[in-house]
Homo-oligomer: 151 residues x 2
DNA sequence: TTGTAATTGAAAATCATTTTCAATACAAGG
DNA sequence: CCTTGTATTGAAAATGATTTTCAATTACAA
């Protein structure tokens, strides 16, 4: 799905939820749809004002909260905190984060069922959720200095 | 290692790091060594004052920060935030958390190397760390109401 | 025992987030 | 295209968490 289509889908979903489609919301939605990094409120505020100069920080908080309620974005947990949001991936996916530039990709295919079963029987817990995240350096950030100008 | 031994080991480590062993620090260390739940600053403050009534919240923040620097405790990431601390486990362990009572256990034995390798070659990332956590209900919280009085 | 630097807790300052509120703008209906 | 009711907005104030400042206290090396 192209970013433009995704933006209108998000706006439609907002409207179906009884919300009005306004310029500030459009700016924030475009931002969150188009970004592959987890963004915090202040970042959204700063980036959003290039699109909609009057944007208020309060509106950023309110809109992020609403998008999270609708499941379109979600909080990302990072070593330095959990105050950044990213668009939600489809299906069961986990995150792979570049610790240098913040780029986020997703991956699937983890099979934790055997481990989950073993841990459950070892401990007596009923396990019903897991968090898995990988951290590393993305291809772009791995490039040596000498080749940076070529990209 | 018994809790008492662990407490003196932590205090020794504090001292080796150039810190003085004081009553407020001792109270906080005893708390963090003896608890199997992730505790936030206010919880540490409240629990700590039963041991050391004059304890100040500022001292709690400062001591938790120092214990984290020494690697004795670490921040736990939970759905509702990452402002709680837990003593660090030995070796490569992951957390299993009870979403009802907050009890935390650890487990080992995850083998994510194959998946890590696959994701690395699929994405071009150099992966150097992973986070894994399980959530569920602990044996005690799984007990039906009718048997609660028996425990 | 003494001297000194680290530590303490209260109070003030700072920073992030939430609430309040009057003005504005969306969108449903005429 | 207007009108109208209500959701939304952003500024300012309020709140809550964390950090900084500072004078008094305390640990501990000598
Ligand atoms: Mn999974
Ligand atoms: Mn592991
Ligand atoms: Zn990168
Ligand atoms: Zn429990």
């Amino acid at each position: 799905m192209t970013p433009t289509i995704t933006v209108s889908r998000w706006l439609d979903l907002l409207q179906s939820a009884g919300c009005r489609v306004t310029a500030p919301r459009r700016a924030i939605v475009e931002l969150m749809v188009g970004t592959s990094r987890a963004l915090g409120p202040i970042e959204v505020y700063d980036l959003g004002r290039t699109e909609h100069p009057g944007l208020g920080l309060v509106t950023v908080y309110r809109t992020l909260e609403k998008l999270e309620e609708l499941g379109l974005i979600e909080r990302v947990h990072l070593p330095d905190g959990c105050h950044r949001y990213l668009r939600t991936a489809d299906g069961h996916q986990h995150l792979l984060l570049c610790t240098t530039c913040g780029l986020v990709q997703t991956f699937a295919g983890d099979d934790l069922d055997p481990l989950t079963g073993k841990v459950a029987s070892d401990t007596g817990f009923a396990i019903n959720e897991h968090w898995l995240q990988f951290f590393g350096t993305c291809p772009n950030c791995r490039k040596p200095i000498s080749t940076l100008s070529e990209s």
